[in-house]
């Protein structure tokens, strides 16, 4: 199995997961990089993404598995794919996949919190997220429950960026259960409405296994 690591930034962050799958399928064809197809009545290229990325979130650490079928060397894959990518998606590496995506347990994120008409002390955000517990209303498809999401936050610290903007860095659980950047921001708002940002721009930075080793 082969794996690529890629970035999804700028305008490309608005490409949805479904559209990304379609785009990747075409990118491989354009690049002339043959990959294995599924068996069956309606074969399609086999592609497996580590963690679907929400629309509007950037990432430096997306991972996707597939299987090369032609003579194409893994090391030539990033260059060939990047030559035919839409703006904003860049493959940084291609290598043999040794570990399973389920080993990914932690995700580092960075979020820029925008405040349009209030002044917020970053230290208060850091303190809130580093307390003993952080109870929030967590909605799933079927139900909604009040849960303590503090165990899902490995670390979190907020620092001033410039007027009206705070940089929040956090390490979040991404196994099961997981805490998404959007849920983290929601948790802030639920517990301290005065700290709720008007707008957040988030980005995935790096993925780790349970022992905090880089996941590759």
């Amino acid at each position: 199995m082969n794996r690529i690591r890629f970035k999804k930034e700028g305008r490309a962050k608005f490409i949805s997961h479904l559209d990304l799958m379609r785009t990747m399928q075409r990118v491989f064809i354009r690049a002339g990089v043959g990959i294995k197809h599924t068996e069956g009545f309606n074969p399609h290229p086999y592609m497996n993404f580590a963690m679907p990325l929400s629309v509007g979130t950037e990432s430096l650490c997306e991972l996707m598995d597939f299987e090369l079928t032609g003579e194409c060397l893994p090391e030539s894959v990033p260059g060939r794919l990047n030559a035919v990518m839409p703006e904003g998606i860049t493959v940084t590496e291609c290598y043999d996949a040794k570990r399973k995506f389920k080993d990914i347990k932690w995700l580092d994120i960075e979020a820029i919190l925008f405040y349009y008409d209030k002044v917020v002390d970053p230290a208060e955000i850091s303190a809130l997220l580093s307390g003993n517990e952080l109870i929030m209303e967590k909605r799933t498809k079927r139900s909604s429950a009040r849960v303590d999401v503090r165990p899902l936050i490995g670390s979190a610290s907020a620092s001033p960026l410039d007027a009206g903007r705070i940089l929040l860095k956090a390490r979040l659980a991404c196994g099961d259960p997981a805490l998404s950047p959007a849920q983290l921001i929601s948790a802030i708002g639920q517990n301290a409405p005065e700290l709720a940002p008007d707008f957040t721009s988030a980005r995935r930075i790096e993925v780790f296994d349970m022992d905090m080793n880089l996941f590759r």
Binding site: R11, F14, I15, D19, Q25, R26, G32, P86, S201
Partner: protein, 611 residues
Amino acid sequence: MTEELERILTRVQKPARYTGGEYNQIVKDLRDVDLRVAFCFPDTYEIGMSNLGLQILYGAINEEPGIWCERCFAPWGDMEEELRRAKLPLYALESGDPVGEFDALAFSLGYEMAYTSVLNMLDLAGLPVKSADRPGLTPLVFAGGTSCINPEPMADFIDLFVLGEGEELDLEVLRLLRRAKSEGWDKAGFLRAAADIPGVYVPSLYEPEYNPDGTMRAFRPKDGAPERVRKRIIEDLDSAYYPTHAIVPSTEIVHDRVVLEVMRGCVRGCRFCQAGFAYRPVRRHSTEFLLKAAREALESSGYEEITLSSLSTSDFKGLPELADGLLEWCEPRKISLSLPSLRADNFSMGLMERVQRVRKTGLTFAPEAGSQRLRDVINKNVTEEDLLNSCRVAFEGGWNTLKLYFMLGLPTETDEDVAAIAELAEKVLRTWREYSTNKARGVRITVSTSMFVPKPHTPFQWEEQVGIEEYLRRVRLLKDSIKSRSITYNWHEPHVSLIEAVLSRGDRRTGGVIERVWRDGGKLDSWSDYFSFERWMAAIEAAGLDAGFYANRVRGDDEIFPWDVIDIGVTKGYLARERRAAYQGVITPDCRAKCMGCGANSLLQRSGCDE
């Protein structure tokens, strides 16, 4: 992208359609650019990006050094609301720069129901909607496309129209604009000079006069403008620009595949069909050209589907060779080939089997009328036998869904003709029972009807449209005539068709209606989400006009039409002869069987039709 726009995009539906950045988009260095053009499509991104004309003209204009053509589409309501609230002007996708600051806005007008969106986009761009209220040379607002065949309803808003095919014409206009800009001409001087370019219609250089009964008395050119404006064509398709490196959207659009245009024009001459006359004479690509273009387009896009496009692909000479050549390339690469616009009369078993080898999709036939008598009237040269034979081939080949399209309200239609639609559908069903190789899966036959809209530059341009009540009566009649539960009947709402009839044969006064509808909130009128019949009727009334005058009136033989100023090659005399033939139930053979002298061959300088 500004933070404000990012914030908006996180809130709207399908934000990828507002970002640009797709593969194969064209970005130029502003230091090398002296003319900026926004190709404006007055409908959504998903519709506009599916339009082959857009892809062709975008590429053709960008071939010109110094001119940068970008794209702009109508935002959906949620996005429009956000833009207006944030006071953000409409921007071009490639650069994100406001289109109101560009040198030219080129609108594609394919259908009448997009007219209100043109006004809305101009307004979102921060521009006055009326040409007269835009005194500067730039931005020049011009338009082309099929519905410009009658430009008059949009005459108040558009500075100039480009008629016919735009690959060469658009560039001639833009080069003149570039010169005018560098030499400091005023708008009037530019428009007067542009009117000398063949194919350019400048509405401000023409003065309509009306009779007391509302019909046209005269249409006077001013300042030496030509009496009539002749549409332009590309004579040799193979040597014209071809979009082999078209933009590949990063989000799903309506026609998400390679569209291979095989020919322009149609040899048939169905009397209701505007495209059939508007795109004459028939010209084709060579098979060798198409095979090469198809490979390049598939390789450069990564699409896994290719469709052949034309008004009647069955009539493409060399279709078997083309289909074989394409399949040879497509099959090993798991690329599927689809062949829409196949006629029911020459639907060959061999062709279908070849296509079927890759993927089997639904089949659609458009007999348009239920009885042979009425099919002869409209010159839809398909016999019942042809149709049933085609169905038999399809059912034997394992197909089990079939769509049949008809129009209600065609000239001379009687209740017997309406009932004949049901009888024809029943015969199709019987054919399935007799020949299906896969009866266990059942069959689904869908009959659809729409209300006939008489169109300019067709033999039925003199005809009345039936009233809404009468259309609905015929719908009920047809509904009651269909007995089988395997036949589903869908009918299109007639209200849009009535407004379409008003606009398609409208005059300069209908511009006031369009403006009023837009001011009352109208836009994206081809979407039922936005179309409001009441709004249109109120605007027609407020303008002191009568919808019936435009839609439901039989015009006199000698009546001057607002669109007579446009010369599409096909003569008014020929259309009148075809109309008489319709009433006599006499069919006209296709162009290949016999040239009937429609006049379109006069547009060709070096070759004959269909060579």
